[in-house]
Subunit: 192 residues, 2 copies
């Protein structure tokens, strides 16, 4: 995809929370780099350093934790217009505990922690943007935790179908199961 088009996506995304002049946005975007990945490729790998936060332009990814027994738990799914990283490792600049992989060909814009902090310190609006984003993410995770405590597998599944219908169509059920913390067999037995 054309770099210009990619930045347009980013501009629209920022525009949902803040308004930047073209000059300001040009400056902001100069701190991002663009990358492409193929299906099955790793953006982040357990044990390796995490260089970037990724803004998804195109494609579908997951961040997941693989435990000692080789069982995989999906922490996050991400598609167009979403951000994804191993945030624990990214913010603390430690090694990844998660894997991030593509299950479609993917195009992302990459933001290093240094550039993120630089932009935040230089531009109040950017700091505002990321603060709001983080708050929203916190709330979303709280809802997910409540869902774990309060709902059965079937209820969580239907909730997911409702909230993210587009995701549910693109993501194989096996992975939805892993996101929901249910075995794929159990999910398969649930009425659609």
């Amino acid at each position: 995809m054309d770099l210009q088009v990619m930045f347009d996506e980013l501009k629209t995304h920022f525009g949902k929370l803040i308004s930047l002049t073209p000059e300001e946005f040009a400056y902001v975007s100069s701190h991002f780099t663009s990358r492409k990945f193929r299906k099955h490729q790793f953006l982040v790998q357990q044990g390796a350093p995490v260089m970037h936060d990724f803004f998804v332009i195109k494609g579908l990814l997951k961040s997941s934790f693989v435990n000692e027994q080789g069982k995989e738990h999906i922490l996050q799914l991400a598609m167009e217009d979403w951000w994804i990283s191993d945030y624990q490792a990214y913010f603390n600049q430690t090694d990844a505990t998660l894997d991030i992989t593509c299950f479609e060909d993917v195009e992302v814009l990459c933001l290093s922690l240094a550039n993120r902090e630089k932009l935040c310190s230089e531009m109040h609006q950017i700091e505002y943007f990321f603060r709001k984003k983080s708050n929203a993410g916190y709330i979303a995770l709280q809802r997910r935790i409540l869902s774990f405590m309060n709902h059965s597998a079937a209820e969580r599944y239907h909730e997911l179908l409702q909230i993210y219908p587009s995701l549910a169509q693109r993501v194989p059920k096996t992975l939805l199961a892993s996101y929901l913390g249910v075995s794929r067999e159990t999910l398969s037995r649930l009425s659609a």
Copy 2:
């Protein structure tokens, strides 16, 4: 507790992430109000508006969701030096879906959303502070979700004892169970 002492706690707390001059801090603290609550009292009640984010000076509180069957799920526990609120309702200025109650006498400093946003827009350091706090909270919740997916009740319990030993001592097991998403009977059967 003396108001001066309360603000000292807050100052120390801010000091962990940012440094403010005495004048700056005086200005910041003027946006907080102090309140006391007795054991069993509600700070936030399901269905009511949420006026504040609360910084705990003293005491022990919980935020919890009570479902239709009257079953309670604890979303957050908070003690000295922690913040607590119904953030979904607070940030979106909607009605609470959670209850927040004390199980000890409590003293808090209260910050309205308007004052929070005012401080954030006026003082870069404050916005930085809350951005970092939110990031840290996000990461903590991710860990809790992984714990739900990857660990048994017994493992989650021992993890909790390790990470928050002080909490585990002050909070009755019945409530720890509810925080962990386990029945109190099951928790009671786990070897300490």
